[in-house]
């Protein structure tokens, strides 16, 4: 009798203990859920440095905060390092990212990324590149063709609709540069008095570009305008024009807004620049990535927009934040 009661009591005690343990583990796990279930969005861009990509990252961080995601930022040390970027894509997937947002250096990187994400059914979004692969949830970037058109229109305005101009392309970001070029070339026939005397790729080396510019001006003494389809070419040409005293004779229309371009813009050496909106790109990239991973429909192509900036409007308050995204 006594032992039976004792046994019964032990059983009840055990049940009680188990219940207490369960309860505590339950409530403990409840708090765990709150702390560490944040999903991760991977952002893979072309280069670690440079205001452009840092601004993309800034925008991405804003979106990540707003949508309560972790943001993992991956970037190679140098631009055009497609091999390294591919490794970073693999790493991002290995890190368990919920979504991949990538600005591919070239087609190979994009194909690799699409292949890897398809295997694991991870949504992929592409920044700063236009394409039409259905595996990509959304292409988010600038309409480079439109940029070219805007650049040409500004140039035409600056040279008052007549005169010789050159178009300087670049070996870097080839696809985007080609689109910009196309934008310029398509509008060219409209302006009968504007003559395109050269359409070349400027050398990427800083030292060579000065020499090359002198040569160009020597060849075309009547040159009134230079459209540079990337900022470093514009800076090189501006430098040469400033030192050779031709600043008032030849107008430069540039692309993007690194500090040097802005300085030349204020000095009046570069007349205008067509800027992109990398912050919007980063923000929308992560925003749509989150929505895509939630299964929501996202636009397959997003144009983040461009803006023509000249000396007149560069210090307007609404442009200041675009041109100078960082408070230093």
């Amino acid at each position: 009798m006594r032992t039976a009661a004792g046994k019964r009591f032990t059983v009840y005690g055990l049940v009680f203990l188990v219940a207490v343990t369960l309860f505590y583990s339950c409530s403990a796990s409840l708090t765990d859920v709150v702390v560490d279930k944040k999903k991760t969005v991977a952002l893979i861009v072309r280069m670690k440095h440079g205001d452009y990509w840092r601004t993309v990252k800034l925008g991405a961080e804003m979106a990540a905060k707003e949508y309560e995601r972790n943001l993992n930022f991956y970037a190679p040390d140098y631009e055009e390092d497609a091999q390294r970027q591919m490794e970073l894509v693999q790493q991002a997937i290995a890190d368990g990212s919920e979504t991949i947002v990538v600005a591919p250096s070239d087609e190979r990187v994009l194909r690799e990324a699409i292949k890897l994400t398809r295997e694991r059914a991870i949504p992929i979004l592409v920044l700063d590149t236009v394409g039409n692969d259905s595996a990509v949830k959304s292409y988010i970037g600038t309409d480079n063709y439109d940029m070219g058109r805007k650049a040409f229109e500004k140039m035409v305005y600056l040279i008052e609709k007549k005169g010789q101009i050159v178009l300087l392309g670049t070996d870097r970001i080839k696809a985007n540069a080609k689109r910009r070029e196309q934008g310029v070339l398509d509008l060219l026939p409209r302006e009968m008095q504007v003559e395109l005397v050269a359409n070349e790729n400027a050398p990427s080396d800083k030292k060579q570009i000065g020499e090359w510019t002198r040569e160009l001006i020597r060849k075309h003494p009547q040159l009134k305008g230079v459209i540079a389809l990337d900022s470093s070419t514009a800076i090189g040409v501006a430098e040469e024009l400033e030192s050779s005293g031709l600043r008032d004779k030849v107008k430069i229309v540039a692309i993007d807004s690194p500090p040097e371009v802005l300085e030349y813009l204020q000095e009046g050496i570069i007349s205008a620049t067509i800027i992109q909106k990398p912050l919007s790109m980063g923000y929308l990239g992560v925003k749509y990535a989150v929505e895509a991973s939630n299964g929501e429909a996202v636009p397959s192509l997003v144009d983040t927009g461009t803006k023509v900036i000249d000396r007149e409007n560069m210090f307007w308050s609404e442009n200041q934040k675009l041109l100078f995204p960082f408070v230093k």
């Binding site: 009798m1 019964r8 009840y12 049940v15 009680f16 219940a19 369960l22 309860f23 339950c26 409530s27 409840l30 709150v34 800034l58 925008g59 804003m62 905060k65 707003e66 309560e68 500090p259 802005l262 300085e263 204020q266 000095e267 009046g268 909106k277 912050l279 919007s280 923000y283 929308l284 927009g305 000396r311 210090f315 308050s317 609404e318 200041q320 934040k321 675009l322 041109l323 100078f324 995204p325 408070v327 230093k328």
Partner: protein
């Protein structure tokens, strides 16, 4: 279904205890849960409000003190320049240089003419082209309002070569002592905006909440998503903060509710606005409710277990008791083990077992008594028609007839017939004392005849009317008288004497038979009293039989008393209750 019902036993103690307590517990827990939830949720909400207020207060305080510090520096610079009457330009710029060096966040100090010409700057840097400084707000405000210091919105300083920096410009007109008297100039102190930016950026309200600052007319001084707003990707509804200077307001849009907390920096009129998201507060509420929900479940489970245990502990002994009662009900009076349990149940079980034991004992006693009664009645039956006595008597009668003693024969036969009549008395056990005495008398008459007048007898009744009508068992006196004759008188040389006396003493009826016979030795007397002694002669109905019949019929306090002395005689007293004949029917 039926089986389930029988298992549960809807009316059982265990079920009642468990369900009622569970119900009460659940109700209480629900009540407590709801109260707790309400209180917690309220507290959480209040805390969130308070927290936001405090954070904003902190931000305001920091900004205030930072801007005050900057104002002081501005005044210092102003003061230095005012007193620089005798100083050379170099000396002045050296002094200003010291100030700039001590405060890293001062980007530049510069003095412009009202036309916008740079007079002096520290640190000395080249002025950029196309600054359009006269169009800039700090310059215009200083010209418009020469007496008050003006803080500009954060903007890019484009005056000097070098990095473009976000600054807040402090400006005011000052009078400079020139060679031609005092010239009004504009003093500009540019403060790096980074300090303020960092200050605001560090502030978080919850996970998503943030702080932004606007000026008097609603221009954004600081906003973490300023670029997104300019890019048109975000919108900040500034109507609430524009309307109010202080306080907390809940702003509801179609997809979210936000808590807007506003504080104003009095000095500048800048408003610090804290935006926290209500759904985060609601999340806290949800967490609380989830916690309370689980707590409720947990407590209910525990209570169920405890109740199950408790109710089993209470009801099990009762069930056992019930079972043992059932056993008794079915006639099994065998002893069973006492039941362990609560004190009350143990007591109940103890009493019950005592009761059962008593019943058992009583039943045994009844059985014993019934047996004894049957036996003694059988003996009485024998005594009623004692063949030996009849034979002896008839022999005596024959002898009398032979001797021609007709009278004696008549007397004997008459007595014999009366004796038998009373003895049989229609099968009744209870007769009146009168009849019993008659019976004894007839018996004595016959015996006297047989023993040839060897003894005398007398029957004395005290208070006749009462005593004679009392009831008694029949054949009480005959065995005693028989003993008196056979054992007391028969072997006596002298003539014997038998006396029967009836009276009421102390509410009892006394029938006493005394003789002057041999008496008994104390040993024999003791044996007779104990009921061991039995004579071989006589009717076979012994003293013991009389004793037993009286006790069985009337109870323990009645019966025989025997006193005897050798050579003196024996006195036998029969005590029976005083019951009057009229009450006979009740017996």
């Amino acid at each position: 279904m039926k089986r389930l019902l029988t298992v549960i036993k809807v009316k059982g103690i265990q079920f009642i205890i468990t369900t009622s307590f569970t119900l009460v517990t659940v109700l209480v827990m629900l009540f407590v849960g709801v109260m707790l939830y309400g209180k917690f949720a309220q507290t959480a909400e209040q805390n969130a409000y308070l927290h936001t207020q405090q954070i904003l207060e902190q931000v305001k305080y920091n900004l205030d003190s930072y801007l005050n510090g900057m104002t002081q520096i501005f005044e210092l610079v102003d003061d230095k320049i005012r007193r620089s009457k005798g100083l050379t330009a170099d000396k002045l710029s050296e002094q200003l240089e010291t100030i700039v060096e001590t405060r890293k966040d001062i980007v530049s100090i510069a003095v412009f003419t009202r036309e916008g010409t740079l007079l002096a700057t520290t640190p000395s840097k080249v002025l950029r082209q196309n600054t359009r400084l006269t169009e800039q707000s700090w310059f215009q405000k200083a010209i418009e309002d020469p007496t008050n210091m003006n803080f500009s919105l954060p903007h890019i300083q484009n005056l000097f070569k070098g990095e473009y920096t976000w600054v807040v410009s402090m400006s005011r007109e000052i009078l400079l002592h020139g060679p031609d008297g005092e010239i009004p100039t504009v003093l500009l102190v540019d403060v790096n905006f980074k300090e303020i930016d960092d200050l605001c950026q560090r502030v978080g309200l919850g996970k998503k909440g943030y702080v932004y600052i606007i000026d008097l007319v609603g221009n954004i001084v600081y906003h973490p998503q300023q670029q997104l707003i300019y890019a048109g990707l975000k919108n900040e509804n500034r109507s609430l903060p524009l309307k109010h200077s202080y306080g907390s307001y809940v702003e509801e849009t179609e997809d979210e509710a936000r808590l807007i907390t506003i504080k104003t920096i009095d000095q500048l009129g800048w408003k610090i606005i804290g935006v926290s998201y209500m759904d985060e507060i609601v999340t806290t509420k949800k967490e609380i409710s989830r916690f309370i929900f689980w707590l409720l479940i947990f407590v209910i489970v525990i209570v169920l277990f405890v109740l199950h245990y408790l109710s089993a502990k209470i009801s099990r002994p009762i069930k056992l008791l019930e079972r043992s009662m059932e056993k008794v009900e079915q006639g099994d009076f065998s002893e069973s083990e006492p039941i362990r349990g609560s004190h009350e149940v143990e007591q109940l079980s103890l009493r019950f077992h005592l009761m059962v034991a008593k019943v058992r004992e009583l039943m045994h006693q009844i059985i014993r008594e019934q047996e004894a009664k049957r036996k003694s009645e059988l003996e009485v039956l024998q005594a009623q028609i004692n063949p030996h006595f009849l034979y002896n008597t008839l022999n005596s009668v024959v002898r009398m007839v032979g001797n021609g003693k007709n009278e004696d024969v008549i007397t004997t036969i008459t007595s014999l017939s009366k004796l038998f009549r009373i003895s049989l008395s229609r099968g009744k056990n209870i007769i009146t004392v009168r009849e019993e005495l008659d019976h004894a008398r007839h018996y004595l008459i016959i015996q006297k005849m047989r023993y040839k007048q060897k003894f005398e007898y007398e029957i004395v009744v005290e208070n006749e009317d009462e005593v004679l009508n009392c009831l008694t068992l029949k054949l009480l006196l005959q065995p005693i008288v028989e003993n008196a004759i056979y054992h007391g008188i028969e072997h006596l040389a002298d003539p014997g004497r038998i006396r029967i006396f009836a009276a009421i003493i102390d509410g009892k009826v006394l029938l006493q038979v005394s003789d002057n016979g041999l008496g008994m030795s104390p040993d024999v007397l003791a044996q007779v009293k104990a009921g061991f002694y039995k004579s071989e002669e006589g009717s076979g109905v012994g003293i013991q039989n009389v004793q037993e019949r009286i006790r069985l019929t009337f109870g323990e306090q009645y019966g025989l008393e025997i006193a005897s002395e050798q050579e003196e005689g024996t006195v036998v007293r029969v005590w029976i209750p005083r019951q009057v004949a009229e009450e006979r029917d009740r017996l």
